[in-house]
Symmetry: C2
Subunit: 469 residues, 2 copies
């Protein structure tokens, strides 16, 4: 019933263009940058979907990007910065001159401003804030102090609040004056505060539409209002938005005063960013690398994780070293060592994947380790048996010795159970030890299953040596 | 400035409870289920955060879950179904008797109803729909036909629309009648349609608040209104919501008639779900496994991916088989074979991770493969050199032969460049071939880097044989 989109071209603004013409777009952007032609750049970028604009921006060299962002209108630059991946946005702002940076930042919401300032060196941040109105700068500094991924770190400071002693007419006047619709505020609703600036109620749009202009807000407001503390973490905010259909919650300090609004949108964006960042860390990519980042930064970050990995690898390989005799006697075993360790690693990583997901959904906690282990052992035993039979048959057929098949198959079967047990439980243990399960689970798992796999193959072979040679 | 949350306990409703008391909660739920005590179950579940309720629900056996969901009030059951992971929700509904299932489903929005119906066997779906009001059943059937992750699949059919000939008073009357606030609708705004039911405008809340009751809607509406076709894919919807601050867009059929509203919330949820599902597939977990799923389903799905992997492993290992002579002569090489292949695999997976992220952000497309390759080669060469020196030094120190260090180090250095080249590009190639890059990139990468690694180590060793023995 629905029209079919071609997934390969749907994201492209001009799906029918052949490659050469598309390359021309890249060339045209580059030429406009070289010619410092602001009008041409606007003409090229304005009609593009944001994703296409991002692709063009990040296809440029860092220097060209700087020139482009300096040439285009402040509003367009702000829109690009706003949509850029979190890990790249601060860098883009940081490379502008402070005056320009301040102009662009003034187009962003306060939560984004605080994020960017928090990600910069103090010196650069101060240079930009010096260009701000002192009051705004104080706001941003205050917001930047809250932890990322808490209500304080995610909220905007632009509030839509009224005193309980005001009337409906006050809100309507405010509306008539403002350019933006209610949506510009994090929540769709005006909050009502008492004289200490503590939220005491909220006015629904329905109440607003159906009441008289002279009505006191304290009369039509719904009370009490739900608030969240500045320190509430992302996970709890997600839970709150899952339970309630509100578009936002008022955020309060410990003394109960209203300091901002955290929107459903901001919480969702943060959750998506966290999920993607976690997926990257599991593959040894830290700092949310993009290929547009400087070469040395990329190389150094990747190398840090790889170097730790190499140490773990050496530890695992030392097991093989202890069994050189049996290897020399039955050289065919060397063919199967990497297979057993790799297949066990795969099984174990499946278990890691499921546990990471259940952690992110809040379905398991570190204390559930035993229950998780029980569930994994049964699947591990079934799959280990199947995989063991497969690889054992291959070993037998390949080398013509059934006992070799028994050794390899048995080793893989047992090691699969070991791998899923460890894989299922290790993220929970790391979480309990307050380590990052996303970054550390897989290397630890692989080391242990490698060692166990090598040991199982080689010690079983030693036991059955007379049958193998 | 912000209070500190302990991340380990923050998600727990009673963080101070020792383990034994927490276990008591699980026991109490189980006892209430066994005693069929609906009141006790409501008393236990109602005050829990949804994430805790989910954890309790999924800690039960499948039979106990069925009993619990049959006992508790329809509203609570619906709330749990709504918040359950997508992959589990249809199963939960499917196991209810059709009458109960229909009652629970009536509490959900139409998009969710259609999702659940779409995920069930036709027979079960029809049994449930037979309990629906025929008109509602027709709505759900219609929605279920749209593709997942398109505007049609994500939209709700509950519309908040008025004819252009109506007046402001009509909207206000509607408001006064409805229990729900505007937020219950996917978009915060009433849409205005012509007599063919085609959207012709939208009324802002500000306009509604500031206009007279007798004003014609055609007078105060903003026109034209942006619409999206039912076939618009998730990626484009994300782009649209990034560019515009609207809470929703009207969804139209090919003939321009209004059929639903797709909300920012629905698009965000789908994006998050897709990101998590992709992360799982990269670890060989398909069907978004949860440990609460039936044993055979979990085992079979994992095994399917592992079996494909074992074939790839055998192909890679066949390289070793061709070099048994050199292995027999220099048995120490057997120790380093798994290290070289594992380390290369890690480097390559980092490159896969970055490309997958850039794909999901829309920063690269299949046609950018060459540019990605250039960026990877430089990082690969730098990191390969460093890793090669590290492992070469270890090999030399361990076995006392500098030439062994040269062979191993050189093989790892070259293979790192191979691995990042393939890792960076392979997701783009798979996407161009319309294969799933999330599920297939890593196994293909590992196979190729294993083969290349084995070949490099063993052929370099063969060349330098006289220096090694």
């Amino acid at each position: 019933m629905a029209d079919q989109y071609d997934p390969d071209t749907a994201h492209d603004p001009q799906p029918e263009q052949p490659e050469t013409e598309q390359r021309t777009m890249r060339e045209r952007v580059r030429e406009a940058v070289e010619a410092r032609d602001a009008n041409e750049l606007v003409a090229l970028f304005d009609p593009m979907p944001l994703s296409a604009a991002m692709r063009q921006l990040f296809a440029l060299d860092a220097d060209e990007r700087d020139i482009l962002l300096a040439l285009i209108p402040v509003e367009l630059a702000a829109r690009l910065i706003e949509e850029a991946p979190h890990s790249a946005a601060a860098e883009l702002i940081d490379r502008m001159d402070p005056g320009r940076a301040a102009d662009v930042m003034e187009e962003l919401d306060t939560a984004m401003q605080a994020d960017l300032i928090g990600d910069m060196d103090d010196e650069d941040a101060e240079a930009i804030l010096a260009e701000f109105h002192p009051e705004d700068a104080a706001d941003v500094r205050r917001l930047a102090e809250y932890e990322d991924d808490t209500a304080g770190g995610l909220m905007i400071a632009d509030m839509f609040s009224f005193r309980d002693t005001q009337t409906v007419a006050a809100i309507l006047r405010d509306f008539a004056r403002e350019d933006a619709d209610l949506e510009a505020y994090g929540s769709g609703h005006p909050y009502i505060v008492d004289k200490e600036n503590r939220p005491v109620g909220v006015v629904s749009l329905r109440a607003l539409l159906l009441s008289k202009r002279t009505d006191r807000l304290s009369k039509i407001m719904v009370s009490p209002v739900m608030t969240v503390p500045v320190s509430m973490p992302l996970f709890d905010l997600q839970d709150l938005f899952d339970r309630h259909s509100f578009l936002g919650f008022p955020v309060v300090e410990a003394d109960g005063t209203l300091v901002g609004v955290v929107s459903r949108q901001a919480v969702h964006d943060a959750a998506l960013e966290r999920s993607e960042s976690e997926s990257l860390r599991r593959h040894g990519v830290v700092g949310d690398e993009l290929r547009s980042m400087p070469f040395f930064l990329r190389s150094r970050r990747r190398l840090a994780w790889l170097s730790a990995n190499i140490v773990l690898n050496i530890i695992a390989a030392s097991v093989i070293s202890a069994y050189e005799d049996i290897l020399t006697a039955v050289i065919a075993i060397a063919i199967f060592l990497p297979m057993v360790s790799d297949m066990s690693g795969c099984s174990g990583n499946q278990a890691v994947g499921v546990t990471m997901r259940e952690l992110s959904l809040g379905l398991v906690q570190p204390r559930d380790a035993f229950r998780v282990w029980l569930k994994e052992v049964s699947v591990g035993a079934a799959n280990g048996l199947m995989l063991g039979i497969m690889i054992g048959t291959v070993a037998w057929a390949w080398k013509g010795n059934p006992w070799l098949g028994v050794v390899i198959g048995l080793a893989l079967a047992i090691n699969t159970v070991v791998a899923v047990s460890i894989g299922g439980v290790i993220p929970l243990l790391l979480k309990r030890l307050k380590q990052d399960p996303a970054a550390a689970s897989s290397p630890l798992l692989t080391t242990i299953t490698d060692m166990a796999g090598f040991f199982l193959v080689l010690s079983l072979a030693s036991l059955m040596m007379p049958l193998l040679v």
